[in-house]
């Protein structure tokens, strides 16, 4: 089967090969112009800006938005139950700290692994399409919530009464851990934005049948994307739990984590690195400015924004630049 003439002649690699999806040079450039500054700002900001809680929440949402970006923006699956991975990570990491007395890096890793295991368990859901997938994932998150808050599990999870990590609380270190999770998240996104694996995921999003005929192993690729996005939420959940140090099942399985993250991605622009970044900074900033004190105004503005977005800017803010021929990483 190898002595058949190829459909296209063999050719030396052309300069275009280097242009591909961006490749390594673009990845390095994005690392220097996006990852490094973002991480530096969040690392230094607490010394200048007193509202550490806002900074921490913003990082948490940046990670969640990018996690949604991986599985939805790139791969085309919208998981309403995404918060299930966050809550699972929060509980697994906390229990690893409290009950197993693991060192914090191992405990955070346990959170990520637990979320990835849940993703593995839910893998068959990826066979569902569209709304069915969205709703089934929501049901799965609800099931996880019911499980950890079950009074029968009080000896382990403390059921509905939540957990307190005050004995192991460390504000600055847990803040630093979230900076690290943010760095990892941005590195993953830079990889997807500049690699052919990222292109393959977008091919699956646009047309799974075509992607398969183009040689993409659809089942394997979307499974990897699903695991990656679960891992990101699990890590974020663990570090979040440690940092807030007192939380309830309702806190870490709150559906608004998913809703916010989805809106941030849609607002900024899916399948880019910068879109979800700007979406989160702008909209969480807005929420912090008016949402917490006067939620009714916020909900009004927010609702309006979603309608306007879906109607006029389905590709998010970055599409305004793209229409002017500006490429947004």
């Amino acid at each position: 089967m190898s002595d058949i003439p190829p459909a296209t002649p063999e050719a030396a690699p052309s300069p275009a090969a280097a242009r591909r999806a961006g490749g390594a040079p673009a990845a390095v450039r994005h690392g220097l112009t996006i990852l490094l500054p973002a991480v530096a700002v969040f690392a230094v900001a607490p010394r200048i800006y007193p509202n550490g809680a806002l900074l921490f929440a913003m990082m948490t949402f940046l990670v969640l938005a990018q996690g949604i970006n991986v599985i939805f923006g790139f791969t085309g699956y919208l998981p309403f139950g995404y918060v299930g991975f966050f809550g699972t990570g929060a509980y697994a990491a906390s229990l690893a700290l409290l009950r197993l007395h693991l060192a914090w890096p191992l405990a955070m890793l346990a959170g990520a692994v637990a979320a990835a295991l849940l993703a593995l368990l839910l893998m068959p859901l990826l066979r569902l399409s569209g709304a069915y997938f969205a709703i089934a994932s929501l049901a799965a998150a609800e099931a996880m919530y019911q499980l950890v808050s079950n009074p029968a599990l009080v000896p382990i999870t403390n059921g509905p009464y939540g957990l307190s990590l005050q004995a192991v609380y460390d504000g600055p270190v847990s803040y630093g851990a979230m900076v690290g999770v943010l760095a990892l998240t941005l590195a993953i996104l830079i990889y997807l934005r500049t690699s052919r694996f990222g292109l393959a995921l977008q091919a699956i999003r646009d047309d799974p049948a075509s992607a398969a005929t183009a040689g993409v192993d659809v089942v394997r690729s979307r499974a990897l994307a699903w695991l990656l996005s679960a891992l990101m939420a699990g890590l974020a959940g663990g570090v979040y739990a440690w940092h807030v140090s007192v939380f309830y099942p309702d806190t870490v399985f709150d559906l608004s984590f998913t809703v916010f993250a989805i809106v941030f991605v849609l607002f900024g622009g899916p399948a880019t690195i910068l879109g979800p970044l700007f979406g989160t900074l702008a909209l969480y900033g807005l929420y912090d400015a008016i949402g917490i004190s006067t939620p009714q105004y916020f909900q009004f503005i927010y609702g309006l924004l979603i309608v306007v977005l879906v109607l006029f800017l389905p590709e998010g803010l970055v599409s305004l630049l793209r229409r002017r021929g500006i490429r947004v990483p």
């Binding site: 089967m1 058949i4 190829p6 275009a16 090969a17 393959a200 977008q202 040689g215």
Partner: protein, 237 residues
């Protein structure tokens, strides 16, 4: 058939909620051969391509590629074995650029050799000037060419072409015909589904005529035109 078969299909059956879209289809394609596949609408041509390219599982029968069983292989595995196809209604990755569409196939569909040169493939189908446009912004004739480019980037030994000429004007049609002829010249085996007999006649001698999910005639085009059963299927409705 004198040449070794690159594709051997035996007794394929595919039912859609009971309805047999394929009802015992058998056909063979030689290495480097061009086979015309014709038949009235709904006779199962597209379904046959979908089964052979691994997109849908048959309910019965077997597919062999290069003498080895390909039954049960997934579409991406068949692509890597050198079986590729275009779609009757083009299915580009609308969110990617034209170049990226082809790049995905060149990288993932290649058969372990050097990857196909994306620029060269784009030039072959006449899309070199549109490389950086979003695929979703192409017109439908261009999208058909992008489908072809993507299939070629996977460097197929067997290419299944589903009504690539349909809806094209005479000039575009001639261009497409010339491109398929060039591929045949390079030794790519082709299965060409087409309603336009002149188009087929210039590419191939041998056709398989399908009706109701099975082959009712196999032979050269002129003989097909004289075959009473074929005439009845096309004229008698």
């Amino acid at each position: 058939m004198s040449r070794e078969a690159i594709l051997q299909v035996r007794d394929l059956v595919k039912r859609f909620s009971g309805f047999p879209a394929l009802d015992g289809l058998s056909l063979a394609v030689g290495e480097g051969e061009v086979l015309g596949l014709v038949g009235p609408n709904g006779s199962g041509k597209t379904t046959a391509i979908n089964v052979i390219s691994g997109l849908i599982r048959p309910d019965g029968g077997s597919v062999q590629v290069g003498g080895r069983s390909a039954s049960g292989l997934a579409a991406h595995q068949l692509a890597r074995l050198g079986v590729n196809r275009t779609y009757q209604v083009p299915r580009p990755f609308v969110g990617l650029t034209v170049r990226q569409n082809v790049e995905v196939a060149a990288h993932y569909g290649g058969r372990g050799h050097a990857e196909a040169d994306v620029d060269e493939v784009l030039a072959f189908v006449g899309l070199e000037g549109e490389a950086d446009r979003p695929a979703g912004s192409l017109n439908s004739a261009q999208q058909k060419m992008l489908d072809l480019a993507r299939a070629l980037a996977a460097r197929p030994r067997l290419l299944l072409v589903d009504e690539l000429g349909a809806g094209l004007g005479p000039a575009d049609l001639e261009t497409v015909r010339a491109r398929l002829a060039a591929l045949a010249q390079r030794g790519v085996a082709l299965v060409v589904v087409e309603h336009l007999m002149n188009f087929l006649a210039s590419l191939t001698d041998r056709v398989v005529v399908m009706n109701a999910g099975r082959a009712i005639f196999e032979g050269d085009l002129t003989a097909a035109a004289r075959d009473p059963q074929v005439v009845q299927v096309f004229l008698g409705g």
